[in-house]
Subunit: 169 residues, 2 copies
């Protein structure tokens, strides 16, 4: 299980700069490997997505990019997102229309998410058992699986305990 975002209150803004650095390094080498170009916008978009403690909407990202002098028209951000998605460097959380850094970009990645209804923090988990079960289940219907969207919501342990109430937005 990867704790993608933090469990701390907004007071003690945990900086997960290590995760971000790691993610960017992975991104660099993956792109190099595949002859893809991690341009300035793309790189910065990925960084901003990682810096966010919860999934980031396209237009939120666009605003941040605009602040830094990047072009502020929608295609800019959607192109960057498309690139990052197809490179497997981020996931889209369909039920939130938001985007999230992928912690296992180097491995074949199915994004399985636990999303807290209260604080919107997201945990990504990699669970091969489920993957296999789903493939089998689909196969029994003659269905050939291509992609999986698994988004679970509920209450994270912090929010069950009331730890983050009001402090986590």
């Amino acid at each position: 299980m990867t704790e993608h975002s933090n469990d701390h209150t907004s007071q003690s803004e945990h900086n997960h700069s290590h995760c971000i650095e790691q993610a960017l390094e992975t991104a660099e080498s993956l792109c190099a490997e595949h002859g893809q170009r991690l341009t300035k916008v793309r790189r910065r978009a990925l960084e901003l997505i990682w810096q966010s403690h919860r999934p980031l909407g396209a237009y939120q990202l666009l605003a941040k990019l605009a602040e830094e002098g990047f072009n502020s028209a929608p295609p800019t951000v959607y192109r960057a997102l498309e690139f990052l998605l197809s490179a497997g460097l981020i996931h889209k959380v369909e039920s939130m229309n938001a985007y999230l850094g992928c912690a296992h970009a180097d491995k074949p990645h199915k994004g399985y998410f636990l999303i807290c209804d209260e604080c919107q923090n997201v945990m990504e988990f990699d669970y091969q058992d489920i993957h296999k079960i789903l493939i089998d289940k689909a196969a029994t219907q003659g269905f050939q699986l291509r992609s999986e969207t698994i988004e679970l919501t509920g209450l994270c342990s912090s929010c069950q305990n009331g730890d983050d109430e009001g402090g986590c937005k």
Copy 2:
């Protein structure tokens, strides 16, 4: 497994009027049970969703309702959808922004879907094993599960065989 939509070509428009009747009867009795009102728009919306052979977008539904003299402003359809969703009579397919009749509205329902990339037909399946596994998996993280979005895409058997190519839109 419930074959929600048909496997036939557009030529032999399968009429699943039986499924629709069934769904509406279930809807009637569920609403009666819970003191909820299945009004004209709501009833007709549900019927139209069921009549569609694939998940129906809100605005597609709105257009159909408008044709029949219902009010044609967005809130009309979104209110109907909200009602049907919260009554468990339909599901939203998040990855398609589209809505689908629920075949097990009477039981506690988690909508698990197999969506064909080619013909967009959707099968809903009820798989308690997965449900249990997911609950357990979440619990090991102290996460209390509330809702599950499971949407699998790929190729249905017909489309793998090229059966429906061009005939299934």
